[in-house]
Symmetry: D2
Subunit: 267 residues, 4 copies
């Protein structure tokens, strides 16, 4: 559709209580701003930098919590899977199945996700060109599903840094599917930190605004009521209290860039 | 100041007639949109890819044409110099002296430009980090001039490609000087073309919008009435006929991102 | 040990007959040059660019063929796994289990591989810094296995290109494990090709020589009797007929760089 | 010619005494190893990171010192120029005129250097692809001089880092001119340091060996008797006392890679 949408939630499910608390706040922002939101939280961070990092509650417990979020808030939910065997169970709860960036070339994972019939959000690998998404799309479609979203989440730029190439949004939109910009992970410094990914939260809002201005259909942001103590991706997590204001700004930019020429043709 | 400004004009002075024609159109856009414009055209392209490319009319003839632009349209003018010996003559006509990106570390050029007292627009090298601009700024200030602008024009990204890192705008703004985004050269594929730089014009407008959304104070764009036949940088040159509409969009985005929170606090 | 070793074989198991034919030739080169060789072939290319590409015979049939290679030639064998569930079956045949570069951060895969007690060859992700390997190493060690090799296979350099950073070899050697340089995949242009990875075979030999000169302990190369018709990675595959000469050159370079200073101290 | 050659000397002329002392040592290494050496020192570092850095004695005093080096040691000398006006004076003393990497696209500088008839060493810009050198070569040749060398000195890799792409050596050799690898500047971290370029000296020797193995005809290294107190590029400067050993290793690698197949055909 023509309207902006958002994918919002904590990096990982830290607890049922906190997850629901964030979901309620996110749902309130959605209602007050009129911008549709998909609630996101991972049940298992299967590729944390360090083996000692918190990974989440696991699939079964995590999906149960996401089902509660869905029931209580009415928000659609999205989460990521890591091996083909998780696809069917995930599809019973999730509205959107997300393919992690590192795994965006794993054929069997794409096929298994596709077969569930759920919407598939493919995150473009940090090592991939926008054009490379053609092949990921074809893999999903080959299994009978063409409900696809593509997400830009930054591309490798030297060591331990990512750059958000706004051209990628423009190029990927040419495939005809909604393009999401992940403002959280584009603000990451992978591996730069003592055993965990670093990041710079101050880039999240400007990059999100830039992406909407460049034409992104959706914005993905991890939000937390206490980013400094988040169990995952805290350094580049956005504070829940600032969310509503940012959403209104993003929505206003979207209106400017998606409006026809009429309103601007006469100064 | 808080308002958006633009640096607009052809890549190179092709002829007096064409330069004046473009300047008149640019001045009209400025007047109709209320957005201040500095007129830009190079008198000598001293670093063309190929020795056979058109370089321009040279300094003396070029400055004479720019003086006419200034007189006829009232627009301030900017152009680039390449060796210290050009600084004084250039300063007699130019309002802003531009330091080319390749030359942004040439100490004597920065000092000579600084000593003229004109505003200095330092283009960040394709090989430089935003933080590196600290040293260029200090060079200019050491010669007694602190009227500085900084321009992001893309950073090397593999071979024959540039990426526009929007974080660079945010970081450079911390120096306290206006930050310009060059949407034309950020859309360049350097060296990719038969003896001249390639580019993709379709990125110019979205990147310009993204940069304003990310906080850029100014936008630099090369414009031409017939980009396909421009003598320099045609592939990534913006069509003069589309300029006014884009300027209105950029201005509207600027208003959204620079306004206080009030207007967005009530949906 | 102080001596050079090689990992050689076809990209993928195309057929039992061809695999054995290549293995016999590789074994002969090993015997004639005195350089130890581990035979490599994938049983499943789980992340091919296109869904239509040949993937291999699958795990069970593939391991059977590798067992035959081992029995007939006496060469140790290495292959790659993609999900944790494959680790135990693979360990029954393989001497070395390889973790693909895209999957080098998948914690469960590293742990499952580690628990088999086999040597683990971790390929550094195209998106990773040499220092990042510390965390992959710790994951493997945390499951009780410290028989590790690290492989450099090129790092993302702009879009659809990889660069072989020789500093990576030097840095990774500081971890205290053997460091392998993958000359085949470092010569790849990922995604650049009509639905498959491109590459440039002419870089394989010079990069392999450079890596040995820079201190690599092992060289990984895909070899084929007919690279132009190989079913996988043909463009950057090395011709089997040229192998022995190259191995002798690599061995001679290794001798030069690993010898003490004595032989060079008196001209 | 088929033999390896070296370009050696301090980054900058610190004093006549020190320059001559280094030159004598370098000449002795050349004599004892039989490897030809061109002596290199800059008379003016025109693009230091900081305006406060030492720049050198200037052109006139510097060329006088280089003339003394030449007279006393018999070594040919090379230095770099920054503006066209320096070419003629430089050519009176220098055997090779070097075009700095940042200036490798400055047409007038290339033309002025070319017209002197001296050998021209063009350093490939940190922002350039190997293929881009075609245009720099054509500029030099257009002014009547085809005595050219090309130097790889690292390419931009993210921010404040360079990577030495060994493929560049292979690609540039296809132009038919000698290719030099600059092991010093390829070990630089530009801008990473408090107001000066950082670097890591431990990469110099392995990268030099790798480059010779990959086919480089010449190696450029900055050497100093006390790198920690060098006035320029100390962090990545090679210690003069270790030079002879390294030269012998490089020479031995060159012999291995340039010899015909005979010596290796019978194990």
């Amino acid at each position: 559709g023509p309207d902006l949408f958002l994918i919002l939630g904590p990096c990982v499910i830290e607890s049922e209580e906190l997850t629901l608390r964030i979901a309620r706040k996110v749902a309130a922002v959605s209602e007050e701003t009129g911008i549709p939101v998909i609630f996101k939280a991972s049940f298992d961070k299967a590729n944390r930098t360090s083996v000692h990092s918190y990974r989440g509650p696991g699939m079964d417990a995590g999906l149960e919590i996401l089902a509660k979020v869905k029931k209580e808030t009415g928000l659609p939910v999205i989460s990521d899977i890591h091996i083909p065997a998780q696809a069917d169970a995930a599809a019973e709860v999730l509205d959107v199945i997300q393919i992690p960036a590192f795994l965006s070339r794993q054929t069997d994972l794409l096929l298994a996700a596709s077969r569930t019939g759920r919407v598939i959000n493919i995150k473009k690998g940090q090592f991939q060109a926008p054009d490379d998404m053609e092949h990921a799309i074809k893999k999903v479609i080959s299994a009978g599903n063409s409900r696809i979203m593509l997400t830009e989440r930054g591309v490798s730029f030297g060591y331990q840094d990512l750059v958000a190439d706004m051209r990628s949004i423009i190029k990927m939109k040419r495939f005809g599917f909604p393009v999401v910009f992940d403002a959280t992970h584009s603000s990451q410094f992978p591996g730069k930190g003592a055993g965990r990914s670093g990041g710079d939260r101050s880039f999240v809002a400007p990059l999100a605004k830039a992406a909407v201005a460049a034409g992104a259909d959706g914005i993905f942001m991890e939000v937390h009521p206490d980013p400094d103590h988040a169990l995952c991706d805290g350094p580049n997590c956005y504070h829940l209290d600032h969310l509503q204001h940012l959403v209104l700004v993003l929505s206003a930019i979207r209106k400017v860039v998606s409006s026809g020429t009429e309103q601007f043709s006469e100064p």
